[in-house]
């Protein structure tokens, strides 16, 4: 009974908290969609609308020809099915809220300490009322499709549902490329090696099928791979965003660009395996989930086109680390850094682009602060996990340990 009550009120809250601002300030969608914090060339609603227009116009044979659209063709087709795309966004957003609820429920069973600290509805509520998530939703950034599939992946992995999990993971990878790497942390959820092989195989087959469907839908043309994935890997559209990439490539000699792009990609990929290996070989079963969330955070930190929508989603996931919160060294500092950088980044962007009294260094400096905040949260979480393991699950806060 309380389940239905919880779910209905959460869904109602999700809808109300997003519908009211959209209703009161109709221009908000465009305004936020134009801000670099919430939209990048590959996730923006503008580009999606352009894609839909090209899809429906007769003159254009191929949506990727113009070099403006970077959304996967299946997503375009899906949005195209809906007369009013806001409906689809609301459905997906409610799906995320519901999934957070069920994820919390299953984690509360697996992590006994969490039960005392976290009521089952808190993470979904935090996702509902998180201003970053609300703004990201209002900007109609397509990041929520990736977030929804990622959350399903984790949920189904916890349920040991191999087929569902692999479908969701391949969908997430199909939507935004980098989640392909998450196949590694997900593998640890399946104990028997037969299942692992099965999972990898099904994921690969799913990806193949998705590619072939896209190929067919795209008029037997492979150029969607260039339009959606190569641009991501190669960082082909150099626009300012909150990430670490763009500033490096604005004034680099052309000869060095391919090298550094591969280094940046390697940097992103190289930490997935170590994190997974370190934290899944312990006796704590729930560390698998934690490793997954950590990998997600790491990818948000280092990917070429990060948006606030990623952070809003990830911060909610971080709530599950609550049993480790007392181990955090600079939790308050990270939160303060995050809040200040989120507030200051539009201001510095305004100083640079609108007023002309600042320059790009201002904005990059504040995006560094933002990334420092994310980075320090990740380090704190890693430290907390290591301490938790050291204390063998029985916290001993009096014992002071430091790294060597």
């Amino acid at each position: 009974m309380s389940l239905i009550l919880h779910l209905t009120s959460l869904i109602a809250l999700t809808v109300v908290s997003r519908l009211l601002p959209m209703y009161w300030f109709p221009s908000l969608t465009t305004a936020i969609d134009h801000s670099v914090e919430f939209s990048t060339p590959i996730t923006s609603y503008r580009s999606l609308k352009e894609g839909l227009f090209l899809l429906n116009s007769l003159q254009w044979k191929n949506v990727y020809n113009g070099g403006v659209v970077h959304h996967p063709i299946l997503l375009l087709k899906l949005v195209n099915l809906f007369q009013c795309d806001t409906t689809l966004y609301f459905i997906v957003e409610c799906l995320i809220t519901i999934q957070f609820y069920f994820l919390t429920r299953i984690l509360l069973e697996k992590v006994p300490k969490l039960k005392e600290q976290l009521p089952v509805w808190v993470p979904s509520l935090m996702y509902c009322i998180n201003p970053i998530s609300i703004l990201s939703f209002i900007s109609k950034s397509t990041i929520i499709f990736s977030n929804a599939t990622l959350l399903s992946t984790l949920l189904l992995a916890l349920h040991h549902n191999i087929i569902g999990c692999s479908i969701m993971l391949s969908l997430a990878s199909y939507l935004s490329l980098y989640p392909t790497l998450l196949i590694i942390p997900i593998l640890t959820f399946f104990k028997a090696s037969k299942n692992k092989v099965k999972f990898v195989l099904i994921t690969l087959i799913n990806l193949q099928v998705l590619m072939i469907i896209s190929f067919k839908l795209n008029g037997n043309n492979w150029n969607f791979i260039n339009g959606t994935y190569t641009i991501n890997l190669n960082f082909e559209k150099n626009y300012p965003n909150l990430g670490l990439w763009w500033y490096f490539f604005i004034e680099m000699f052309m000869e060095f660009v391919p090298f550094y792009k591969s280094v940046f990609n390697l940097f992103l990929a190289s930490f997935i395996v170590p994190i997974t290996l370190r934290f899944t070989s312990t006796s704590f079963d729930h560390f698998k989930t934690y490793a997954f969330i950590l990998c997600l955070g790491w990818m948000n930190l280092t990917k070429p086109y990060p948006v606030m929508g990623d952070t809003g989603f990830w911060i909610t996931c971080v709530l599950y680390f609550l049993p480790l919160s007392n181990y955090g060294n600079y939790f308050i500092i990270s939160i303060l850094l995050l809040i200040h950088s989120i507030i200051l980044s539009p201001i510095f962007y305004y100083l640079w682009i609108e007023l002309g009294s600042g320059n790009s260094n201002f904005f990059y400096a504040i995006s560094l602060v933002y990334n420092l905040a994310l980075g320090s949260i990740i380090t704190d979480l890693v430290w907390g996990m290591l301490r938790f393991e050291y204390d063998d699950g029985v916290p001993n806060y009096d014992l002071k340990l430091t790294q060597i």
Binding site: L344, G356, S357, Q403
Partner: protein, 555 residues
């Protein structure tokens, strides 16, 4: 990391954290004091710098200026005509001016039937950039700008005969220095048909007398929302004015203090800079404010006093400035965009004065932290119903102040607002007899913590855009952090003290008091009245920020 680790261990060994926690309110006061001192020492030798022309292409006064004897009679002829226009309605004045500009050879157009402008297309450029010469018919004091209008049209005639211009020249005649000029600038960037490219710089002429002679030149440069023109523009204006043998006055400094070059004079100028910049948009505009927000570097030249300097000498300042700006190949970007001028040729750059505002913001953050941990508050977990209650109150007060701001925009009621504010301040005194329940005390602490934290955040976000405003409201609101919540029944003196502190730090009361004491122009409740037209006419943020930041914190 090694060093940080070592410090951390030492801190842990000495048990510093619990000891230091107690002193957080003291820290807050000390940091605020330090930031005030760091502002106050700026006029000392070694803290400020001499100005210099950063962009080499400008070369002020390097070319001989020709607006001299040959133009005397033309200027006087125009002036005699303009003198007769004082009593004419605006449209007739504009019609006459339009025929003159057409005769000279400009393309003219009117905006809203009130502002007339003419464009001289550059003989040597691609016509994508422009320099504006703006002449309000009435200056900021409401006097008829006789000399300015005559100078404007004769300068236009003079410029047009030269083949050297690589930027279009736009001459604008608006009714006043405020709303009409602002609406022209906005229309220029949005709806006007006749345009001359992006405006690089604007010079506003104010010569409100019919006399041939004047004494010294006032330069006004404060834009809205803390925006300033690039320091290079102010530098060439100062350098040219002094090169032509005139005295420069900044921020309306009176004649007799112009030659002072002492610590005390620089200190006074510093205060004037901060005051004028934070009240820009509330005070009567000089005209350059109208150009804020469009990447236009603008300043006002105002001829003052009666003396021995000829009106054509005044005309040579815009002439030489236009020739300097004409040399630019790029937008103004070299020099400083944020500075405080201590004298016409002394300045402080942002890196020297910004720490003061950061310090104030930090002081509020310290108070906020202090409210969390002191008075046994740290034993109560952060995630609790008290915090939730405080967050809800905080959120409601923001919503309330937002709605209140919108209401106030529609219906202005300064006296009542003042009355309500004073009433609010005396709540501690009135409610003295009612003891707070134990739980309420925690909520009160949490509320204060959130309010201060929020205030610190607002200050931080404001200080990059509008340092003087951030500093002013930071200082004015600081008494708020001294308000104490006592666990027992407050004594009457404590309650009175709290009331006084609230009274002093109430945003409306303090802003009114501030402008009354320091500015002769704004008396009584005038500031509050002005805040509204400032918002309406000039999209000024001052009102909004003081509202959002201060109001609920005062609650």
């Amino acid at each position: 990391m090694g060093l940080v680790e070592r410090v951390k261990r030492q801190v842990a060994v000495m048990g510093l954290v619990p000891k230091l926690k107690k002193y957080l309110p003291l820290f807050s006061k000390i940091i605020a004091l330090i930031s005030l001192i760091s502002i106050a020492i700026l006029p000392i030798d070694g803290q400020y710098r001499n100005t210099y022309i950063s962009e080499n292409a400008l070369m002020p006064s390097q070319a001989y200026s020709y607006f001299r004897e040959t133009e005397w009679n033309i200027l006087r002829g125009y002036r005699t005509q303009v003198e007769n226009m004082v009593d004419l309605p605006l449209t007739e004045r504009n019609d006459i001016m339009e025929t003159w500009l057409n005769d000279i050879g400009a393309k003219t157009d009117t905006h809203n039937n009130s502002t007339i402008y003419g464009i001289f297309h550059s003989p040597r450029g691609d016509g994508t950039e422009a320099i504006v010469l703006a002449i309000p018919w009435h200056n900021s004091e409401g006097q008829f700008n006789t000399g300015g209008a005559a100078l404007g049209v004769s300068l236009a005639r003079f410029f047009w005969r030269w083949p050297i211009w690589s930027k279009n020249i736009i001459v604008v005649f608006s009714e006043d220095t405020g709303a009409s000029l602002r609406s022209w600038v906005e229309a220029y960037h949005t709806s006007l048909d006749l345009t001359g490219g992006s405006i690089e710089a604007a010079v506003i002429l104010d010569y409100a007398s019919e006399s041939d002679f004047f004494d010294y030149v006032e330069i006004h440069y404060d834009g809205l929302n803390g925006e300033l023109p690039n320091l290079d523009l102010v530098n060439i204006a100062v350098s040219i004015t002094e090169h032509e043998g005139m005295k420069v006055s900044l921020h309306g400094l009176p004649r007799e203090e112009l030659e002072e070059r002492s610590l005390w004079s620089r200190f006074k100028m510093l205060l004037r800079s901060i005051k004028d910049s934070s009240l820009a948009g509330i005070k009567k505009p000089h005209g350059n404010e109208a150009f804020s927000g469009w990447r236009i570097q603008a300043l006002t030249l105002k001829a003052c006093g009666e003396g021995g300097i000829d009106i054509t000498t005044f005309g040579r300042i815009p002439e030489a400035m236009f020739r300097s700006i004409n040399n630019l190949l790029e937008k103004f970007h070299q020099s400083f965009f944020y500075y405080l001028l201590l004298a016409p040729r002394n300045f402080v750059s942002i890196s020297s004065y910004l720490p003061a505002a950061v310090g104030l913001s930090l002081a509020f953050a310290c108070s906020s932290l202090g409210e969390f941990v002191n008075d046994n508050q740290d034993s109560i977990p952060f995630i609790s119903s008290y915090t939730l209650e405080a967050i809800i109150v905080w959120f409601l007060s923001i919503t309330f102040s937002f709605c209140f701001a919108i209401t106030y925009l529609k219906y202005t009621f300064p006296v009542m607002l003042m009355f309500i504010c004073i009433l609010f301040s005396f709540i501690p005194l009135i409610s003295r007899g009612l003891p707070l329940a134990e739980t309420k005390i925690t909520v009160a602490h949490r509320m204060k913590a959130f309010a201060f934290g929020y205030f610190s955040l607002v200050l931080t976000s404001l200080l990059m855009i509008n340092f003087p405003l951030a500093l002013t409201i930071g200082v004015l609101a600081f008494p708020m952090t001294l308000v104490k919540i006592s666990n027992t029944l407050p004594t009457s003196s404590q309650a009175l003290k709290n009331s006084m502190l609230l009274l002093v730090s109430n945003p409306y009361i303090s802003i009114c008091a501030f402008s009354n004491i320091f500015d002769s122009e704004l008396t009584g409740l005038a500031t509050l009245d002005r805040l509204i037209p400032a918002w309406n006419d000039m999209n000024c943020w001052t009102w909004f920020f003081s509202h959002l930041a201060g109001y609920h914190a005062g609650l």
